[in-house]
C-alpha cells in the first residue's frame, strides 16, 4: 500500500510553476527523501501533501485520502515538522505537550517521556527561550509521541549544529525502526538524509529527476577513472561529467551494472586501466545537478 501517491501533480503560483506533473508513490514503511536544490519544489510538494496548498492540477492522496479532504482523523496519523512552522512560542515544553495530547487518541505517554529524556528538553522552559535546535526537537517530540503512520519532515536540519542533527536523526531513526512508520523528509542536507532514507526522489525546477531506492541508486552510479583511453574515445549518453586531463579520463557512469558494464568499458577503452568507485548520495546529487545545469533545459537530470 502506498501511503503517499501523486498523479500529474502541478502547483503554480501565478506564472511560476513550482511543481510540474509530479507522479510519486511512497510505499508504507519506507523512508523517502525529497532532494533538490533551493527552489526545486520540495516544500511546495510537501505543503500540497499536507493540504496547506491545493494542487493546481493533478491529484495527491495521503493515507488513501485526497489531500484536499484531509480531516482530523487523517491528521491525527500524520506528524509534521518544518523549519518554517510557527510554534506557540509562549508555551513551555510541558504546556505544548499538554496542549497537543488531547487531539491524538493514540498519544503514548511512555514514548513522550522517553523522547523527553532522550532529547534532554527542559519541560518548564518557554519555547521562545529555546535554541533553534531545541525548538526543532520539541516540534519533533510533539509529532512523534502519538506514533503517526506518516512523519513528514520539511527541511528539519536547517540551521542545526552537528550535535543536534545527530540527536535529531537518531531520534527519528529509533522511533521509525520501532514501528512500521513511513517517513517523508525533504532536505538539501544529503549526508543526514543518506543515513535516514531508503528511497530518494530528486526534484529539479519542480520536475522529478529520479525516483528510486538509495540502494539501487548507489548501485548504478560509479565514479570512473580511465588511464590511457584512446584519444578518439567519445562519451556515451550515460557517462556524465566527461573530462580529460592528459592521459586520464574521468566520468560518472549512471548505468553501472557490474561485470557486464566493466566488459563494455574494456571494449570501449582497449588497453586502458579502469578504476570504478562507488559514490555517496551527495556525490550523485552534485553530479546530477551539474548535468542538469549543463543541459540547461531542466531535463538533464533524467539520467
Amino acid at each position: 500500500m502506498n501511503i503517499i501517491e501523486t498523479t500529474g501533480l502541478t502547483r503554480r503560483f501565478g506564472r511560476t510553476e513550482a511543481v510540474h506533473d509530479l507522479t510519486l508513490a511512497v510505499p508504507e514503511g519506507s523512508v523517502c527523501a525529497l532532494l533538490g536544490s533551493n527552489g526545486a519544489g520540495k516544500s511546495t510538494t510537501i505543503k500540497v501533501l499536507m493540504n496547506l496548498f491545493s494542487p493546481t492540477a493533478g491529484s495527491a492522496r495521503v493515507l488513501g485520502v485526497d489531500t484536499r479532504k484531509l480531516g482530523e482523523r487523517e491528521r491525527a496519523q500524520i506528524g509534521y515538522v518544518s523549519e518554517n512552522q510557527q510554534m506557540p512560542l509562549w508555551m513551555t515544553v510541558r504546556q505544548l505537550l499538554d496542549y497537543c495530547r488531547p487531539f491524538y487518541p493514540t498519544w503514548d505517554r511512555a514514548l513522550e517521556k522517553n523522547l523527553l529524556a532522550q532529547f534532554a528538553l527542559p519541560e518548564d522552559r518557554k519555547l521562545k527561550h529555546l535554541s533553534r535546535g531545541m525548538l526543532m526537537k520539541a516540534a519533533l517530540l510533539s509529532s512523534l509521541a502519538y506514533r503517526p503512520k506518516l512523519l513528514v519532515l520539511d527541511e528539519p536540519f536547517s540551521g542545526l549544529d552537528p550535535l543536534v542533527r545527530e540527536e535529531f536523526v537518531r531520534g527519528v531513526l529509533e522511533v521509525s525502526e520501532s514501528g512500521n512508520w513511513t517517513v517523508l523528509v525533504s532536505s538539501h542536507d544529503i549526508e543526514e538524509v543518506e543515513r535516514l532514507c531508503d528511497r530518494v526522489v530528486l526534484l529539479d525546477a519542480g520536475r522529478k529527476g529520479l525516483d528510486e531506492t538509495t540502494e539501487a541508486l548507489q548501485a548504478r552510479f560509479r565514479r570512473v577513472e580511465v588511464t590511457g583511453a584512446p584519444a578518439e574515445a567519445q562519451p556515451a549518453p550515460t557517462m556524465l561529467g566527461w573530462g580529460r586531463e592528459g592521459a586520464l579520463t574521468r566520468f560518472v557512469a549512471s548505468d553501472y551494472a557490474g561485470e557486464m558494464t566493466e566488459r563494455l568499458w574494456r571494449e570501449k577503452f582497449p588497453g586502458a586501466a579502469i578504476v570504478a568507485q562507488p559514490m555517496s548520495l551527495r556525490e550523485i546529487f552534485i553530479t546530477l545537478a551539474k548535468q542538469s545545469r549543463t543541459a540547461g533545459d531542466g531535463k538533464g537530470a533524467a539520467a
Binding site: K47, M50, L52, F53, S54, R68, G71, E72, R73, R75, A76, I78, Y80, S82, N84, Q85, Q86, M87, P88, W90, Q95, Y99, C100, P102, F103, Y104
Partner: protein, 539 residues
C-alpha cells in the same frame, strides 16, 4: 465540545494578562457608575469624560482581544501550527467562540450583575440587559473579526485598522451632508470587510470559517443598518389620533433666522400656533420644502420643539420678543397666572451655506407639512426638594443628590438631580437624555421645581453639561444623567422672588399624547428675518 474548550482554555491562558486588564477596565467603568449614582467624586462633566474615555478604551480593548484570540491560531499563510494538527476549522471556530464567550460574555455579565442589583433591575430587565451586553460586545467581534482573520499579527492588524479608520474619517469629512454617508461607512467596515474576509477564507477552502464570517457579517450589517435607520430616520408615529383640537389649531410662520458657519448654516423656523387648549403643549415633526421658480427644490426634515423647551431660542436665530416662551402650567392645582399668548413651535435644520445665500438672493416658496402632537402633562411624582429624596416612577429612579440654597453667583436655590434607568437596546433614551423621547429631541418626561407657597413652577431646568441639552452616560445598560433645577422663577413670572428650599418641591412630569394630526402651511415668498409679514397660512 471538549476539544473546543481545550482550545479556548489555551487562549485564555495565553491572554491572561489582557483579560485581567479587560476586567480592570470593566471594574473602572462600574466604579465611575457608582460615583455617578451616589453623587460622589466630583462633578458630572469630568466623570462623564472619564466614562466616555473608558467606553472608548473598552471598544478598542474588545476589538484587540478578538484579534488576539484569532492571532493565537493564525488563519493566513501556510505555516500556522494548528493547520498541521488534527484541528478542523469548525473546531477552531468553536474554540474561539467559546473563549470569546467567556471574555466578552461571562466575565462582563458576572461583573455587571451586582451593578444591576444596585440599580434596581428586576429579573426581566437583567435578562434584557444581558442580551444587550452580549449584543454590544458581539459588535466588537463583528468589527474586528474580518481584519483579524486576514492578518497574522498585531502589527498588520493595527495597520489595517488604521487604513479602515482613515477611510471612514475621509468619508465622514468629505461627505458630511450626503444622506447615509455614515451608514455607508459602517456598512463598508462591518459588512464589506466581513464579506471580503469570508470570501478569502472560502477561496482557501476554509468553508466553515468563511461561511461563519459571511453570515455573521451580513447579519451584523443588516442589524447595524436597521439600528442606524431607526436612529437617523425616526419614523413618525403611525397612529393618528385626530381629536377636536385638530380643526382648531392653526399654524403660521412667525419668524425665521439663520446662523452661518463655515460650510453650513443652522436655519431656525418659529411658528405660532393658535387654538391650543389650555394645559396642553405641542410637539411634532416637520417636513420643510423650499421650491424656486426655476424648479429647484430642497426638502428637509426636523423635529419641533415646544414652547418652554429652550433648545432653539435666543438672539442668534430670532428677534427675542417675537418668540417669547409661554408660561407652562401643570395640573397641580396651583393658582398660576393665566397667559393667553399663543403657543410657539420652533424647528431647526442644518443646510449648506449655498442654500442660505440662494434664499437671500431669490426668495423661494416654502411649504411645511407638520405632524403635530398635542400632549397633556401628568405629574408622575412630587417630592420635597431635599437631598436624598427619591422619585421612583416605573423603571426610572430620580434622586436629589444636592441642594444648594443660593450662592455667590446664583440668587435662587438650585438642585442637582441624578436620574437613572435601564436603557435596554437604547430604545428609550437616545439623543442625550434619560427617559423616553417622543418626537424628535423632546424628552417625554421632564422635571419642574414647584413653589407651592407662591404658586409658580420653574421650568428652567438644564443639565450640568449643557443648558440646552441633557447628556446621558451609559454604564452597563444603565443610563445616568445629572440635572440641575434652578429655583429662579421663569421669565413668565418675573415679579416673583425666589422662595427658600423648604417651600419647594420637585415634580416629575410626563407628557402624554392625546391627539395627533397633520397641518400644512405654505408661504409664497420665504425670506429670512421678518418673513412672517409676507406669509399666509394655507389652512
Amino acid at each position: 465540545m471538549r476539544l473546543a474548550w481545550h482550545i479556548a482554555r489555551k487562549d485564555l491562558r495565553r491572554l491572561r494578562v489582557a483579560i485581567a486588564l479587560w476586567t480592570a477596565l470593566i471594574a473602572a467603568k462600574l466604579g465611575v457608575g457608582v460615583m455617578l449614582i451616589y453623587g460622589v467624586g466630583g462633578r458630572f462633566d469630568p466623570l462623564r469624560l472619564v466614562s466616555n474615555a473608558l467606553a472608548g478604551l473598552e471598544a478598542i480593548a474588545g476589538c484587540l482581544i478578538v484579534a488576539a484570540f484569532v492571532h493565537g491560531d493564525v488563519l493566513t499563510g501556510s505555516s500556522s501550527f494548528w493547520m498541521t494538527r488534527p484541528v478542523s476549522s469548525g473546531r477552531l471556530i468553536g474554540g474561539k467562540i467559546t473563549g470569546l464567550a467567556v471574555v466578552l460574555g461571562a466575565i462582563p455579565l458576572a461583573m455587571l450583575f451586582p451593578w444591576w442589583l444596585v440599580c434596581g433591575y428586576g429579573a426581566k430587565e437583567m435578562l434584557m440587559a444581558s442580551v444587550e451586553t452580549i449584543l454590544v460586545n458581539s459588535l466588537f467581534v463583528c468589527a474586528s473579526l474580518p481584519l483579524a482573520t486576514l492578518t497574522d499579527g498585531l502589527g498588520r492588524y493595527l495597520f489595517g485598522a488604521l487604513v479602515f479608520v482613515t477611510a471612514i474619517i475621509c468619508v465622514s469629512v468629505t461627505a458630511p451632508f450626503i444622506p447615509g454617508a455614515g451608514l455607508v461607512a459602517v456598512l463598508v467596515t462591518v459588512g464589506g470587510g466581513g464579506i471580503v474576509a469570508g470570501l478569502f477564507h472560502l477561496w482557501n477552502r476554509r468553508v466553515a470559517l468563511g461561511g461563519v464570517l459571511l453570515s455573521t457579517c451580513v447579519m451584523a450589517a443588516v442589524m447595524v443598518t436597521l439600528v442606524e435607520m431607526a436612529v437617523r430616520y425616526r419614523p413618525a408615529p403611525s397612529e393618528s389620533l385626530p381629536g377636536p383640537s385638530a380643526e382648531r389649531v392653526t399654524l403660521s410662520l412667525a419668524e425665521s433666522g439663520a446662523q452661518d458657519r463655515v460650510s453650513s448654516a443652522t436655519l431656525a423656523l418659529g411658528f405660532r400656533a393658535t387654538g391650543v387648549p389650555k394645559e396642553f403643549v405641542l410637539g411634532g415633526y416637520a417636513t420643510h420644502r423650499w421650491t424656486w421658480s426655476d424648479g429647484g427644490m430642497v426638502e428637509k426634515k426636523s423635529a419641533f420643539s415646544a414652547d418652554f423647551n429652550p433648545i432653539i431660542s435666543g438672539r442668534s436665530y430670532f428677534e427675542e420678543d417675537t418668540l417669547r416662551k409661554r408660561p407652562f402650567r401643570i395640573a397641580l392645582g396651583l393658582a398660576v397666572e393665566s397667559d393667553e399668548r399663543s403657543s410657539i413651535l420652533t424647528s431647526a435644520v442644518i443646510v449648506p451655506r449655498e442654500f442660505i445665500d440662494r434664499v437671500r438672493r431669490d426668495a423661494p416658496q416654502y411649504q411645511l407639512s407638520a405632524e403635530i402632537q398635542l400632549m397633556r402633562p401628568v405629574v408622575m411624582g412630587e417630592k420635597p426638594a431635599r437631598t436624598s429624596e427619591r422619585i421612583v416612577s416605573g423603571r426610572e429612579t430620580t434622586r436629589i443628590i444636592a441642594g444648594v440654597n443660593g450662592s455667590e453667583f446664583r440668587s435662587a436655590p438650585f438642585f442637582r438631580l441624578q436620574e437613572y434607568q435601564p436603557t435596554i437596546f437604547g430604545t428609550e433614551n437616545g439623543m442625550g437624555g434619560v427617559g423616553p423621547f417622543d418626537f424628535g429631541f423632546w424628552p417625554k418626561r421632564s422635571y419642574f421645581l414647584v413653589d407651592r407657597k407662591l404658586g409658580y413652577l420653574s421650568t428652567n431646568f438644564f443639565s450640568e453639561y449643557d443648558a440646552r441639552r441633557t447628556t446621558v452616560v451609559r454604564i452597563g445598560t444603565v443610563g445616568i444623567v445629572w440635572r440641575q433645577l434652578s429655583g429662579s422663577p421663569s421669565e413668565s413670572f418675573p415679579s416673583r422672588a425666589p422662595s427658600p428650599p423648604e417651600d419647594l418641591s420637585i415634580a416629575k412630569v410626563e407628557f402624554r399624547a392625546v391627539e395627533r394630526f397633520t397641518k400644512e402651511l405654505r408661504v409664497d415668498q420665504f425670506q429670512l428675518g421678518l418673513s412672517q409679514r409676507r406669509g399666509r397660512a394655507a389652512r
